[in-house]
Structure formats: C-alpha cells, structure tokens
Amino acid sequence: LEDSNNSGGGEGTDTATIDLQKAALYVSSCRNFDGGFGSVPGAESHAGQIFCCVAALSIARSLHLLDSDLLSWWLAERQCDSGGLNGRPEKQADVCYSWWILSALSILGRTDWINSEKLASFILRCQDDEDGGIADRPNDMADVFHTFFGIAGLSLLGVLDEIGEEQGKTYRLIDPVFALPVDVVAHLGLQAQVVRDDTGDIRPWLANYDV
C-alpha cells in the first residue's frame, strides 16, 4: 500500500524512473482540513508524516501545493508548556518531534514560530546525566533514536553551534530536507526547494536550494 512515507525516498537525480508530479499530487492528497498531513488520504495529521510530506514536496519543488501558513501554525501549536513539542493535539511532548517539526519549519522558513529557548531547554533536560544519551522526555530511558533527533533538533535551533563555540569545537549542521550533514548535501549536489522566512531571508546553508 502506498503511503506518504515512501514518497520522500525518491532521489532527485533519477527523475526518469519516477513521475515527480504524480508523487507530489499524491502527497498533496494527504493534506487534511487542519493543514497537516497523515500517512494516507484521510489519516490524522501527525508531525512525523508532516516532515515526510514537506520534505518530499521540497524535493519535488512543489511546496506551492501546501498552505505554509496554516501548516506552520498547526506545527507551532505543538509546543507545550514544557517547551517540548508533541506530534498531535493533546499528546505528550517528545524529543523526536524536535526534528520532525523543526525540519518542516526550517523548510518553510518559519522556525521562529516556536520558542527556541524553551525547546532547547526541554531537549537538554531530556539528556540522561549519567550515560549521556537523550530520552523522549525528561527522566525516561535514553535511546539512540531520541539521541539522534535531540541533537538534530539542537542543530536546527542553532544551539549546537553555540555549544560548539563554548567548547571550542565546530559541529556540522544538519540539512532539514535530507537529514544529512549540509556538507554531504553540497558534495552530492542534492537539490530541493525552501520558503523564505518573514524577513525574506534564507539560512545560509540552504542557499543552494530553489526558493
């Protein structure tokens, strides 16, 4: 059964074997009344599915098929009092949404629609003081999955940079479309599309993309 998770997998280079327009239209058919996306048409909007759809549409240069403002508002509403992000209304905040939501907001140029300081503080509180891993929420068991997404979230927030400065280190940035280090994306010449933010700017590391 085709679902929106699969549409993001097509590499931009080999367009002869995939009908990008059809794939983009399929993704668009998964759009819901709240501006979000589910795994198949009609399925509930979910932040994880939203990342897949937004990144897929970015790769297909078809971001015009979504309502950026409405979707970004829905994503911004995922921020809880704790500063963490949930994946659907009335569910618990979870560190992995730091990636799923921030990446989508980065592509849409609206990362400042959530409170960065509070989110960063939430992610850091999810780190286990003893073994160093990051858990889904404070005081839970750490695992590799949430450690990756926590670090990726900190990277997209620019907080990893700040931490690096304090430590005298340089950390690579992660690309929000491909979830790869930006230097790898550049080296491979991968192409995608992003939306300008409110000031008309693009983050420097996304400058190679179409706008």
């Binding site: 589910g38 048409p41 399925a43 509930e44 509403e77 209304p89 009335e90 695992d143």
Partner: protein, 302 residues
C-alpha cells in the same frame, strides 16, 4: 522486531507469551501463510503490540486472500462451501457490494476488532488507518452513519481525542475531499461548538469547526457568510463562559473567524486579540502572534 544477533547491544525484555506469539508469527511470515489460524495469530500479536506495521499489513493480506478464496468457491470459515462472490472482492481497492451479507459480516467483524484495539488506546494510528480503509472500501451508508455515532461516543469519553475528531471529518465526508452540504456543515459546526462549550481550552473542536467554515467559504456555498458570522458570535459567547481564565484555543479560532468576515472592525478586533495572546495569554508563540497581528493590521487594498 527481529532479534537476530546472539548478543544484541540492547536487549528488550519481552514476556514469554510475547516471545512465543511472535516466534509463531515469524514462522508464518516466512511461508507467508494466509489462513484462518494466521488471521487469529495476527489478532493476538496485535493485542500484544498494536503498533506493529508488519502485523497490520500481514493481516490485511490474509483477509484479501481469504476473500479471494471464498470468491473462487474455496472453503469458508467453518469449512462450508460458499457460492462464488462478485469479481470485485472486498479487499481490492474497488468498492465492495455492501449488500453482500458475507462481505458486510467480515467488515463488521473487523470494525469490531478495531474498536477493541481503540478501547485500549483511542489514538492508535494504525487502528484508525485500518478502520478508514474498511469504511472507504465498503462504502455503506449504514456503516458511515454508525461510525458517526461511534466518533460521538469516543469524543464523549475523551473530548480531547483528536483522532476521533479526525475520523468524524472523514466519516462526514464519506472519505472524500468533496465539500459537505451546507446543512451538514452547519450541523457539524454546532456539534463542535457544543463540545467546545464543555471545554473551550481544547483545540480539536475549534480546528474542526474552522475546517468546515473554510470549506463552505471556499466552495462558495450559500449561507457561508451567515455561518461565519454566527460562529463569530458563538465564539464570543463561549469565551465569556471561560471567563477569568486565558483561553488561547478559543481566541485563536475567533481570530481566524473574524479574519474570514474581513471587515475593518473585525480585523481590528482580531489584531487586538492577537496582541493579547502574544503578550499575555500565549507567550510561547509570541513571535507567531506578533506576525499575525501585523498581518491583520496591514491596510488591505480594496
């Protein structure tokens, strides 16, 4: 969840029952057996872990095979010989004949099974997807009606169950993207209001209501203007019932409704509300509200 290595980096502490059930499942998956016993096994494995994509997918494939077999005159559930069914079988993506008692019976069994899964976890994403698949394929007006009542039951149990609200939208639209009639839209907006009244802080009914209003406006339906204006008034009334407390869910819906009406007074009121949210009631989204306020204040070209 295949544990192939002898000494994995991190062992998951499964119970003995779980290990046994999934050992059987893996064996059946290897031969890809489709039978009544593997159907039952998939149900057992899903009760143990309702979030396993592989098992849901296996279950769907088993059902398809059992249906095919019955269609071609093979054995029925209790070994009865059933006459052949129509070529368009239940589990292909074409619609099934809901008048066929046997198809309806299978569908009802599955819907019942899904309901038991949802009674343990009302937000299980896989279960809801599967339910939508059954309903969309069956496309029976009786089942659509009965699921409308089902969403109401779940919403009454937990007003904040966003999955139930999403399913209600799906059911009202018969699984399509066609706009509802204005009567249906009005009914659903009033339904959402009645639930918002019970708890105005809950975002789900407001988002649901906004969805219908927008859909009516976009489709140029008769009465959409009156609907928006009435919803503006209703949101004001509800806001007063949540007096003395902040209510960002209600206020943000009200901002959208006022913006839809679009007059100068309405936009002014909406801008003031956005300012209130950004500076006092919903400061975590301060930057968003500042932007929204700016949008609302911007002079519109006529």
């Amino acid at each position: 969840t295949l544990q192939v290595e002898a000494s994995p980096v991190c062992s998951i502490a499964y119970t003995a029952d779980f290990v046994t059930a999934y050992d059987y499942l893996r064996t059946c998956l290897r031969t890809d057996e489709h039978s009544d016993r593997t159907l039952a096994l998939s149900g057992l494995c899903l009760r143990l872990n309702p979030a396993n994509y592989t098992v849901w997918h296996y279950r769907r494939r088993i059902l398809a095979s059992l249906q095919q077999r019955r269609a071609s005159g093979g054995e029925g559930k209790s070994g009865d010989k059933l006459p052949p069914l129509d070529a368009d079988t239940f589990l292909t993506n074409t619609s099934a004949d809901a008048n066929d008692e046997r198809i309806l019976s299978i569908a009802k069994d599955e819907l019942q099974y899904i309901s038991t899964v949802l009674s343990n976890d009302g937000k299980n994403y896989h279960a809801w997807s599967f339910r939508q698949y059954i309903l969309r394929t069956l496309s029976s007006s009786d089942e659509w009606e009965s699921d409308l009542a089902y969403t109401d039951a779940l919403i009454n149990e937990d007003i904040r169950n966003n999955s139930a609200w999403n399913h209600r939208w799906f059911v009202c639209h018969r699984g399509t993207r066609m706009p509802c009639t204005s009567d249906d839209a009005t009914r659903e907006c009033d339904y959402a209001l009645s639930k918002a009244e019970m708890d105005p802080h809950n975002e789900s009914p407001w988002i649901y209501l906004l969805g219908y209003v927008k859909e009516q406006i976009r489709s140029g339906a008769d009465g959409s203007d009156e609907l928006v204006r009435r919803m503006v008034q209703e949101s004001k009334r509800l806001r007063h019932t949540a007096a003395d407390t902040t209510c960002p869910s209600c206020d943000s819906a009200r901002i959208e409704l006022l913006d839809m009406v679009g007059g100068e007074e309405e936009r002014k009121e909406a801008a003031a509300l956005a300012n209130q949210l950004g500076t006092v009631d919903d400061t975590i989204r301060a930057k968003f509200w500042a932007r929204r306020e700016g949008q609302l204040k911007a002079v519109r070209s006529s």
